[in-house]
Subunit: 268 residues, 2 copies
């Protein structure tokens, strides 16, 4: 079995708490490391969970709200200071390049490694990475500003011919309001990460802020017929998370909570 | 006695470690809160040490190397999301404004409070803040890019006439190579914070990178005839800090280490 597992580095929404960090996940597929979003403190979280961050080959940024990318400059700089020479591929909204370049201009920094930037389109799902083991497509989400999710799929040729051939898939959807069009894009994935910023009684607030409730996340999971749902991006107002889990389970029973430091295998 | 104390929030140099965060200090003078530098994770450190960050009225950024300001956007954003309405004064190199504005443009954020930006000059020491209790001047440092320290002085009229009148002062000097001109600017302060990135055997490396050694920091303290020296901004290569302290003490005995979470009273 090749690896296909995700480690949660941050699961809070915009305001971090003393216990929860902003969004970041480390996906390991067949020893390829993808960092998905990079909230403030991600480099510290990588250290805390003893993940060798120079092994990250690809960083994907869903959108330009700070809780999803304010840790990026620090991580890129530490990679540089610690002697990285390997290429690093960065995927994100086009203005991200301008934001990085401006800061490195004034710090007079010239990275020792190649930072290869891939601007994301936001009009239709697009193939953004492919090799012999897997493919990555964007997922078009519905948020206050342009926001893309990411869909990772193993390829059948990545398995030995004698093996049973489960081609696992993982979809990352944060941040988004409830939108029928998301359902189509995550049909039958093995693991769906979907934001659940609010509980059901705050559906109006969710709508106003282009976020989702627990039940909306679970509805997407149920209607897309996914195998398992992971919720996260919790509002700072919730100190205990069990009530969010219980609500989601009322709609889709195979739901788990994203918990920092936990590693989730896609095949279980 | 009015308060005059500094809490260390971060004491590492450019690369944070699992135990040390990048530069940030909270100075409380007569219940005025000044945040000096704001490395990545500063808002989490403020929470950890239970400092009410909405009470911060002034943020001072010494220079535009990331380990001194990558936590700023996150802190400004959290202040906004948590409903701040009070003015916030920000002091830093002129391009900092451009960096902030660019990021808020793309996140489509309009702060609910007034962020009043004061660009710092880097050619001569300048008065940047004054009220009935204290004054703040810049200190011109010598680093790879423009970098200013900060000198806080109590005023005599802040004390009752019947009191003995110790007008305490605190100087913050990070980052800088050893430079005679710094000595003049910090003469006889009560507490001098001076960076000591390297130990004495790395004097060449210190020079190349425009940083200081333990002994150089202590030499500044001795020649400026300060009361006490605090060293910090330690290179990630040093897991134990006692050897740095011992070296500094060989030159200036009244030296202490900056340790995260510790609170230092200026008058003791």
């Amino acid at each position: 079995m090749q690896k296909f597992e995700v480690t949660i580095l941050g699961c809070s929404s915009a305001t971090p708490t003393s216990k929860r960090n902003p969004s970041a996940q480390l996906l390991n597929i067949a020893d390829r490391y993808f960092l998905i979003d990079c909230g403030e403190g991600t480099q510290m979280q990588l250290r805390r969970y003893k993940i060798k961050f120079q092994r990250i080959g690809h960083i994907l940024i869903s959108h330009l709200h700070g809780d999803h990318y304010y840790g990026l400059m620090g991580l890129l700089s530490s990679m540089h200071l610690l002697g990285r020479s390997a290429d690093l591929h960065l995927y994100g909204p086009a203005p991200l390049k301008e934001i990085i370049d401006l800061q490195y201009k004034y710090s007079e920094t010239r990275l020792h490694y190649n930072l290869i930037f891939h601007p994301l389109q936001n009009d239709k799902p697009t193939l953004i990475f492919e090799d012999e083991k897997l493919s990555v497509h964007t997922i078009i989400l519905n948020h206050r500003i342009a926001c893309t999710g990411f869909l990772f799929r193993e390829k059948d040729k990545s398995r030995k011919i004698t093996e049973v051939l489960p081609m696992y898939s993982y979809a990352y959807c944060s941040d988004t309001c409830f939108d029928e069009r998301v359902i189509e894009q995550v049909k039958e994935v093995d693991l769906l990460y979907h934001e659940a910023t609010f509980m059901d009684d705050m559906e109006n607030r969710a709508k106003e802020t282009y976020h989702s409730t627990t039940k909306q996340a679970a509805t997407v999971a149920a209607r897309a017929n996914v195998k398992k749902l992971m919720i996260g991006h919790y509002s700072a107002r919730y100190s205990k998370l069990e009530p969010l889990l219980l609500e989601a389970k009322m709609v889709f029973s195979n739901t788990v909570l994203a918990i920092e430091g936990e590693k989730y295998r896609i095949d279980t």
